[in-house]
Symmetry: C2
């Protein structure tokens, strides 16, 4: 019972408090402005305990992104007929950006990645492993990985212009119309004819 | 003749030296790290002269972006049959990013815009006026502005993943294959059927 009280190594609540403080700091201060010391102070623990749980600022950031990015909710959109995969992905993706909880966190992480190469690197790794991998594996077509990347490039650019730069009239276009406009292109990237045949022969 | 010597107001070479120093500083130090004073020092002029020519740091930055972004080279790609507009734009766009002079400048400006809201705002204005306007005016279709923005979202996301994040295998894919993969979607955005009919009725 005594084990449950206080903030000590091994207490899952302590780890959670540190993670929350870290997400808060990364979102508001960015990667560069976040220190192990400040995160520890916010969480009310010793900096050594932050290191005990996470090992390094990089690892802490990776855990924070993992705890922030609703990747699993996007991966769920894979389930269903391949013919409507593009539409499901775009609809779910817009839904996440427009969600009052997930949207601001996504915006903060993407802004942070744009400003900091180290952040971009970690985000890239996470997205490749957690999102692009599952999507590519679900496709029955050649060049599944490049197909996923092309789709991701459209989705990233769309979010940047609609949700980060808020460029009108794209920013105010009803989500249904955005889905109607964008999903066919995503579907084509994922399952259409792309003339990527030479890509494996001439990778340059 | 004496008019040609020295660095005084009215001397175009002085303005050019200041602009070069400003571009150099914005690219290496970013918007936040650039000061009128430092630009003046690099250009070997009095800070008052920088203000005389450009009026404010914002205006100096706008002139620097104007001097950096090879917008005119993209706008040239508009000329030709509308049926191949997408292919011409994508090909020219990739060519600029892969150009040894323009590419690094484009990357620096986009990185700077991603990190600084004020930079993003200026870049947004410039792109809308100088690039999107001409492209939209060249289209004979409804919703030309939204069409241009959708195309721009794909092009922006593509550059981010291929040239800034350098995600493989997209980063090493030969440009011809990227054009073949991406141009049909750009063409569809610009001249295809997008079901945007309600967009003017329900702008929300």
């Amino acid at each position: 019972m005594a084990e449950e009280r206080g903030r000590r190594p091994g207490n899952p609540q302590t780890r959670e408090s540190i993670l929350e403080a870290a997400i808060e700091s990364f979102v508001t201060e960015g990667y560069g402005g976040t220190t192990i010391r400040a995160v520890a102070r916010t969480a009310g623990v010793d900096p050594a305990l932050v290191m005990h749980f996470f090992g390094s600022k990089d690892k802490l950031f990776e855990a924070a992104i993992n705890g922030t990015m609703p990747v699993a909710l996007l991966v769920e959109a894979i389930d269903g007929d391949e013919e409507h995969l593009g539409e499901r992905l775009v609809r779910r993706y817009l839904g996440l950006w427009e969600d009052p909880v997930h949207g601001p966190k996504l915006a903060a992480v993407v802004r942070s990645a744009a400003a900091t190469p180290a952040t971009a690197e970690l985000l890239k790794e996470l997205m490749t492993r957690e999102l692009l991998g599952p999507v590519a594996r679900s496709l029955s077509h050649d060049h599944a990985h490049i197909r996923g990347l092309l789709a991701a490039s459209q989705l990233l650019g769309l979010a940047a212009m609609r949700y980060l730069l808020k460029i009108e009239p794209l920013a105010s276009l009803p989500a249904d119309l955005v889905v109607a406009a964008v999903a066919p292109g995503i579907q084509r990237y994922l399952t259409g004819t792309l003339s990527l045949a030479e890509a494996t022969v001439v990778p340059r």
